[in-house]
Symmetry: C2
Subunit: 213 residues, 2 copies
C-alpha cells in the first residue's frame, strides 16, 4: 500500500533511523553494470545485492519490487542522452541525429530493448526526451497524433536495428526454396548497400513518410 505512486514520486527514505548504507543511485548503477556485462536475466536481486556486499532482502528498503529497479535502470540510461544541445536547422536532420544518439545508447546498453516498452518505464528523463523531440517538431505543421506516432516508431526503429545487431546468424537457415520462393530469391542476391547509413536512410524515410503530407 506504500507504492500507489510510481517510484519517481516516492521519497527515498524517512526522517528517523540510521543513515542508509546505500542509495537508489548506487543500486541502479550496480544493476546497470551487471546488465551491461551479463545481460538482463543476470540482474537478480541477489546478484545486485551481492555486488553491493549486502543481502537480497535489504534492497526492499530502497525499492518495492524488481520492476521498480528496471524502471529506474531504464530512466537512468535514457538520461545519458542529455544534455540536449540547441535546435537549429532542419527538423528532419535534427530528429535523425536524435535517433542516432538513441541507437548509440542502445548499443551501449543492449538490455534497453527488453525493458523500454513497458508503460511503467516512462520516467522523467524519458519525458524530457519526448519533450525534446516535440520541440524539434514544433515548427512542423502536422497533427499531434502523427508526431506521437513518429516518435514512437523512431524508437521502434532504434530497437529494431539494435536487436538485429545483437542477434546471431540469420534465422533463415535451411529453408525450403519451393515453399518460400520470394524469400529464397531475396536471400539469393546479396544486394546490400553500405550497411553504414542503412539506419539513417530507414529513419529518414520513415519520418518523411509519417510527417509529410
Amino acid at each position: 500500500m506504500a507504492d500507489a505512486q510510481p517510484i519517481w514520486n516516492r521519497p527515498a527514505r524517512g526522517a528517523r533511523g540510521p543513515a542508509p548504507s546505500h542509495s537508489r543511485a548506487e543500486i541502479v548503477a550496480a544493476a546497470i553494470a551487471i546488465a551491461d556485462a551479463d545481460g538482463l536475466p543476470a540482474v537478480s536481486m541477489r546478484a545486485v545485492a551481492a555486488k553491493l556486499g549486502t543481502a537480497a532482502g535489504g534492497l526492499y528498503r530502497y525499492l518495492s519490487s524488481r520492476d521498480d529497479l528496471l524502471d529506474l535502470m531504464t530512466d537512468r540510461a535514457v538520461g545519458e542522452l542529455e544534455p540536449y544541445h540547441d535546435t537549429s536547422g532542419d527538423w528532419l536532420d535534427h530528429l535523425v541525429a536524435l535517433g542516432r544518439a538513441q541507437l548509440d545508447l542502445h548499443r551501449r546498453h543492449p538490455w534497453l530493448a527488453d525493458v523500454i516498452q513497458r508503460p511503467s518505464a516512462v520516467g522523467p528523463h524519458a519525458l524530457s526526451f519526448f519533450d525534446r523531440c516535440l520541440g524539434v517538431l514544433a515548427p512542423l505543421d502536422a497533427p499531434t497524433s502523427a508526431k506521437f506516432e513518429a516518435i514512437a516508431l523512431m524508437t521502434g526503429t532504434v530497437v529494431l536495428f539494435s536487436r538485429s545487431a545483437a542477434t546471431g546468424p540469420n534465422p533463415f537457415a535451411g529453408l525450403d526454396p519451393t515453399a518460400h520462393p520470394h524469400l529464397a530469391a531475396a536471400l539469393a542476391n546479396p544486394s546490400d548497400p553500405g550497411r553504414q547509413d542503412l539506419f539513417d536512410h530507414a529513419l529518414r524515410g520513415l519520418l518523411r513518410g509519417l510527417l509529410t503530407p
Copy 2:
C-alpha cells in the same frame, strides 16, 4: 543434446512405446487459451499441464523447454493469418491490408507482442507471411534490404498500436508543464482525428517513406 535442431524440425515422437495421451497441437492450444485469458505470465508449465489433466514434468515428453512452447504458440498464432488470397492491385493497399490483418491478430492474442521478437520464434508460418509480403513487394523496384526493413517495421507498427490499445491510462499523469513545455502543449489540445484509420494512415506513411525514392 536431442534438440540441436529447432523444434519445427524435430519429430514429435519415436516408434516404440505406448501411444501418447496428448500432442503438441493440444498442448499449444491449451497454452494459447491460457495466454488469451490470463496473459503470458500465467502460461506456466504447471498451468498448461493442469489444463490437460496431467503432470508438469510430462510435458517434457513433447517439448524440451518452455521456450519451445512459446515458439510453437507464436508460429501457430501467426498461422491464423493464412490462407492468403490472390494478389491484385496496388502493392501499398495490399501491404496495408496485410498489416491490418496482423493488427487484428495481435488484438486477438495480445501476448504476441511479448514473444514475437525473439529470433527463435521465426517458424514456418512466419516465413510464409514474410514470403507473402515479399511477393506483394516483388513488382516494386527497391533494394532488398529496404524491403526487409519495411516488413520488420510494419510488424513494429502493429506491435505499437496493439500495445497502446492494451495499455491503461496514459503515462503522462501529473507531469510538470514547466519542465516539459512542448509535451504539455501537445497534450493540451486534443486534436485527435478519427482514431479509426490512424493505423492505416501511419502504416501508409511509413511504407511510402521507406519504399519510395
